[in-house]
Amino acid sequence: MANTPSRLTIWCTLSALLIALSAACLYLGSTDISLLPTDTARYILLELRLPALLMALAAGIALSLSGLVMQTVMGNPLADPSLLGVSAGASLGSGIALMTLGGTFLGGQLSMGGLALTIGLSLTGALCVTGILILCSGIVRQRTTLLLVGVMLSFMISSIVGTLNYFASADALKSFVVWGLGSLNGVLRSWALLALCISLVSSLLLLLLQRPLDALLLGEAHATTVGYSLRRTRTTLLFVASLLTALTTALCGPIAFVGLAVPHAARLLWRTSQHGVLIPACTLLGALVLVICHLLCQLPALWGVGNILPLNVLTPLLGAPVVIAILLKR
């Protein structure tokens, strides 16, 4: 016990690390900006690197919180943001944008194309699934049933996405595969800033819901006994978690493992299951993990030995050992 670092030490160390690595994200990239003309360097820093950093922070926070809430609401340690089909819904939206519409939509006065269309339809897809889940949440009593409904939805949507893949042209398929590999680059600064604000506000909102979340840890029956409306609490929590997942997946593509691994890592580090601690812990750790992943993705380009790596190449590599350690510990 004497060797266990205090919570304060953990908070301070991880916060310092996050600040240092965030600064590194701005300083390091695939080009040496000190060699570039000032205005180009300034543009790269403010319009390319800063949005990617903001998006890393936002996505890390959103996915970790979403995972934490899913694991508590579902009473399942292996629950993660993609389990209930929200990510699949976003994939379907992206698939329609890239493989069916060819990246462009023209309807009356409405014209959308490129990234905006992909993001718009991904968000729509994810929110549609969220709506179905919330509808089901009001109908079904047991969370296992809700979990199965989500998994079935996920399979159904994956099947539709598979069909779109099958009939897509080589160019469209490549665009979809690239989207599916996940990336923090290419997001506009205003979008990234908005995503970060929503993530932080959600974090505060979940802090307000820490008591019902703690009650759910002891089972749905207990939560009902202590006076919480099970359906309302579950619906609210599911909505927040799904919204966070939808937002992240739409902007960065489906990012694997962060939502599953970070809540467990937070429980291990802070040695608690109390949401009053875990919510800020996941906020900090999730942001840190994605910033680390983002930096690691840049390394091959930074060292001049290759290209930047897609995010989903690294997140399972970092996340899987955490999950295995937890499974073995059980």
Binding site: G29, S30, T31, I33, L36, T40, Y43, I44, E47, L48, R49, A52, L101, G102, G103, T104, L106, S111, G113, G114, L115, A116, Y166, F167, S169, D171, A172, K174, S175, V178, W179, L181, S183, L184, N185, G186, V187, L188, G253, A301, N307, I308, P310
Partner: protein, 309 residues
């Protein structure tokens, strides 16, 4: 008189092709099987899995030998569309029963390195390996038509056609080459032609340089970040964007979706050309007619790349 002129032009073309590779009957192709000798198998009912090879066979006058294609829904060229070729399904999952029932006697397939032929391999039919896409020069790739021509009894026509391509493919030498930026990023990743790629070679012959892959030795494509492209290619004179969309790309759309475009000189000066591969048969024609693209780029005919508005 026309025939005399044609023969003269063919001979001129063949003479103007400087041989780069001795032996096996090839002048430019580095990876093709030998075309020396007369012992060529002849095929009468060929499945040309890709539209590019179906298009070539038709051009060589062997259209009646094509039993069908795969992915017919992606055919863009009007002549090939009007031919109403039988569709044997997706290349990744072909209808093998229909292929057999149709009496196919050979399969023209493009192999992917390290992978098998999947369902095609189970048919026990001769496979004509179309490795032309692995060639790193435009004429090297186009020269494969001489091999394909011999397999359908149209070797002479193929030789003539290739000679015409060689004759028309006239590299441009310029003291100050145009620097060119290519395509658009996808999810923050920007694929550009490698420095030793087929496209880099074609652009070089058109008098263009690729600033983003100037010191690169890859024969495939290169994945860069937006900041790398801005650092290397912001001063590009011309921006060539190949894309596939149901409606044509506009400058306004690029400015809205890709704010960094304003940093690129070619965009600011309005020198952005687009090739919508859903409307223009780029992929069907260019592999065996690099001369058409070269001519498009050097003489601004705007058949393939059109100015974006």
């Amino acid at each position: 008189m026309k025939q005399v002129w044609f023969t003269f032009l063919v001979l001129l073309g063949l003479c103007s092709c400087s041989p780069e590779r001795a032996g096996n009957g090839w002048q430019y192709a580095m990876l093709a099987p030998s075309i020396e000798g007369d012992a060529f198998p002849q095929y009468d009912r060929i499945l040309a899995a890709s539209a590019v090879h179906a298009s070539l066979l038709r051009e060589l006058g062997a259209g009646e030998r094509i039993v069908g294609v795969c992915d017919a829904n992606f055919i863009v060229g009007s002549e090939l569309r009007e031919a109403d070729l039988r569709n044997f399904g997706s290349y990744a999952n072909p209808d093998v029963e229909q292929i057999l029932v149709a009496g196919t006697d050979a399969l023209m397939l493009s192999p992917v390195a390290g992978s098998s032929y999947g369902a095609f391999g189970t048919l026990g039919l001769p496979i004509i390996e179309c490795k032309d896409y692995l060639e790193s020069t435009p004429l090297g790739r186009a020269e494969w038509m001489r091999y394909y021509g011999r397999l359908v009894g149209h070797g002479t026509e193929a030789d003539s056609l290739f000679a015409c391509v060689c004759m028309r493919y006239q590299p441009v030498s310029t003291e100050r080459p145009f620097s060119v930026l290519t395509d658009l990023p996808q999810n923050g990743q920007w694929y550009v032609p490698g420095g030793k790629s087929y496209l880099a070679s074609l652009y070089a012959d058109a008098g263009y340089t690729l600033p983003c892959s100037a010191h690169n030795e890859d024969s495939g494509s290169l994945c860069l970040t937006i900041e790398q492209v801005l650092a290397l290619g912001a001063s590009a004179d011309l921006w060539l964007i190949k894309y596939a969309a149901p409606v044509d790309l506009t400058l306004e759309q690029i400015a809205r979706e890709y704010p960094f475009a304003q940093r690129i000189k070619a965009f600011r000066e309005g020198r952005v050309l687009g090739c919508n591969t859903l409307r223009v048969p780029y992929y069907e024609q260019i592999p065996f007619h690099p001369d058409l693209l070269l001519n498009d780029l050097t003489h601004n005919t705007h058949i393939y790349y059109q100015p974006l508005r």
